[in-house]
């Protein structure tokens, strides 16, 4: 029966279904973001090595990871995030335009980010029920969507790439149906 099947699949296994681009067919996450960034990714690996050499304190360096934010226009910013810090805090410390209406209290969904790499997504702890409740309401939800305030930097996440979903004209969430044109 459908219910029990859903229970078994649940959110835990959904992450393994790599192929399907979006959970909700009405949302408009565009895979273009991925394509655009492949070239830039290589470039950044080089520049991040330089950044590492520039730093005086090797120990401190070990406690930070490199994270790249790809904004709505597709522009990339590489930042260093101390282990233990949330991506929302890190974004704000680095003037990255990631909304955070509830300041990390898991009550708004505006800090929605898309983990650009499935392997990295799988390294994150599973979202809690509460995070999933907020993700339900996120715009442009994808298979690898998370809330920026709930992703905490840890060493396994070195090189993490996060896309900030482009605002769309499609408010297809929470009962709103786009008008036919």
């Amino acid at each position: 029966m459908f219910i029990s099947r859903f229970y078994r699949q649940g959110a835990h296994t959904i992450k393994n279904l790599v192929k399907a681009p979006a959970l909700n067919p009405r949302t408009s996450y565009s895979p273009v973001v991925y394509n655009q960034s492949i070239g830039a990714l290589k470039h950044e690996f080089f520049s991040s090595t330089t950044a590492k050499q520039d730093s005086e304190d090797g120990n401190e360096e070990n406690e930070k990871i490199n994270v790249t934010f790809v904004d709505k226009e597709g522009d990339e910013t590489l930042i260093k995030v101390p282990i233990g810090m949330s991506m929302l805090e890190a974004a704000h410390e680095n003037d990255i335009d990631l909304e955070g209406a509830c300041e990390g209290s898991l009550a708004c969904s505006t800090c929605h980010v898309i983990v650009m790499d499935m392997e990295q997504y799988n390294k994150l702890p599973d979202p809690s029920d509460e995070e999933n409740d907020m993700l339900d309401l996120a715009f442009g939800l994808t298979e690898t969507s998370r809330l920026g305030c709930q992703i905490i930097a840890k060493s396994e996440l070195e090189g993490l790439r996060l896309a900030i979903p482009a605002a769309t004209r499609n408010f297809a969430v929470d009962g709103f149906k786009p008008k036919p044109h």
């Binding site: 219910i3 859903f6 009550a107 009962g175």
Partner: protein
């Protein structure tokens, strides 16, 4: 003033072709108004934005809608306050468009006007008995417990019966059910209005019925709110097992919609085997597949509500269409002393504004106001825009208004860049408006006066171990604002 002008002079504008400063007025200081102002200030270095509101207090439904036991949701007020403190932005409270000042007057004084005044009325059921006492729109009840001055004196009777019926199963319905059922000791630590807390402390209501015309798969609430109400301490949940049987159309609906699937999942988990009623126990009954037919007068209390008659429904339509509820001719009555209609809000028209009475919104294309609501007419009202619930209808969370504002601001920006909003002479803007309001003896409440109210409310709250004690009458608010 001098430094103000200098600031404007040095601030660069990348997008404004004309050199005369542009003055934009945003009507309504809810999420739509504040997000609009924020985006506008960010996109255009030489645009001034005034946000006006009919209340002396800003933030719209974040203050008067969001439930008192959801303080985290209200944190967004910090962000909005930073917008109001921007030197190119002013909040001007206690100014009602349509009465203190007309829309044509505003449009004359500003280069552009963005309407974001929300939805302050209600959909009606249109069934017999709706005029009886003890029946309220959920909006009124919410305003009452949230200290909105318009409903300070609502005084719903919570002591004549042990049962309340809530019609509708959206998040607002869940909010009001939770306020009725939650232990008042927990509510006492929130910013709930003190008159409401006192009434709830004396409330005899123990049973709340949440009535949906469709099934558990179509319940309009979201998982977060549902999880919360299901978790209320010592609350017995009643859901009929038979209502949880799904049809193929339901399963497709759930497959296509993550929210519906997760809500259904929570409801199915909440079903527990037959409860013996314990006297005094609080109960929440989910009633699915029933639509309101009429309200019946009480036998012994003339003019007062005695019960609600519901008609059993069945769903029609397949998975490709919205499944709709149709009556079956089978009825049942629920006796109750309070009924709250939570079937949706509705916007109100103001003079001089095109309005689509059927949809209850301002006709618009992406936020540009259309001169005529009728189909096929694509004439825009120059310099007039709309955002938020007034633009899309009364659905969506706070964040929805952020995306909605981005869409509206894209239109405003395009018009600014094309020079559509520029005028030969500088528009009088804030100064002109304030002079006019002054001549009409309208006392405005600027943001620093609101900050006095804010401080006073927090001070009063502190005395009672609450985050804030809301001042709930205009007189009190204006008194503190004027200090």
């Amino acid at each position: 003033m001098a430094s103000f002008l200098k600031l404007r002079w040095i601030s660069k504008s990348f997008s404004t072709l004309s050199s005369t400063p542009l003055r934009i007025c945003v009507v309504g200081s809810g999420p739509a108004g504040f997000y609009t102002a924020e985006k506008l200030l960010k996109a255009h270095g030489s645009v001034d934005v005034d946000i006006i509101d009919r209340l002396p207090t800003p933030f719209g439904l974040v203050r008067s809608g969001v439930a008192p036991d959801h303080p985290e949701t209200k944190i967004v007020i910090n962000q909005f306050s930073r917008v109001a403190q921007n030197e190119r932005c002013s909040f001007i409270g206690n100014v009602s468009v349509g009465s203190s000042i007309t829309l044509p007057e505003l449009r004359e004084m500003y280069n552009g006007v963005v309407l974001a005044y929300g939805a302050e009325s209600d959909r009606s059921l249109g069934i017999p008995g709706e005029e009886l006492a003890d029946i309220y729109a959920a909006r009124e009840f919410v305003w009452w417990y949230n200290g909105h001055p318009d409903c300070r004196n609502l005084a719903p009777d919570l002591k004549s019966s042990d049962t309340a019926v809530i019609l509708g199963q959206g998040n607002v319905a869940l909010d009001v059910a939770r306020i009725l059922l939650r232990p008042t000791a927990e509510l006492a630590r929130t910013d709930i209005a003190s008159h409401a807390l006192a009434a709830l402390e004396e409330s005899t209501i123990r049973k709340v019925y949440l009535v949906g015309r469709r099934g558990p798969v179509q319940a309009a609430c979201t998982a977060k709110e549902l999880r919360e109400i299901l978790g209320i301490k010592d609350l017995v949940i009643h859901i009929k097992q038979a209502d949880l049987v799904t049809t193929p159309a339901d399963e497709i609906e759930m497959k296509n919609n993550r929210i519906r699937r997760r809500v259904y999942e929570l409801l199915s988990k909440a079903v527990t085997a037959g409860h013996a009623s314990v006297p005094g126990q609080r109960e929440l009954h989910f009633v699915f597949f029933h639509k309101p037919d009429r309200f019946l007068e009480s036998d012994d209390r003339s003019g007062r509500l005695g019960s609600v008659r519901l008609e059993k429904t069945t769903l029609k339509g397949d998975e490709s269409m919205k499944q709709v509820a149709v009556g079956t001719g089978v009825y049942k009555d629920i006796s109750c002393g309070l009924a709250l209609k939570s079937i949706g809000y509705k916007s109100v028209a103001i003079d001089g504004l095109p309005f689509d009475n059927y949809k209850g919104i301002v006709p618009n294309l992406g936020g540009r106001v259309l001169a005529n609501a009728s189909l096929g007419d694509m004439q825009y009202e120059t310099g007039l825009y709309v955002c938020g619930w007034l633009k899309r209808g009364p659905t969506g969370i706070i964040a929805t208004n952020l995306y909605c504002a981005e869409e509206t601001i894209a239109c405003v920006s395009e018009d600014i860049n094309k020079g559509v909003l520029s005028s030969k002479s500088v528009k009088p803007g804030r100064k002109g408006m304030l002079e006019l309001l002054d001549s009409r003896n309208t006392r405005v409440v600027p943001f620093d006066a609101w900050e006095k109210i804010d401080l006073e409310e927090k001070r009063l709250g502190n005395l009672k171990n609450k985050p804030r004690e809301k001042l709930a009458t205009r007189e009190e608010l204006l008194k503190i604002a004027g200090k």
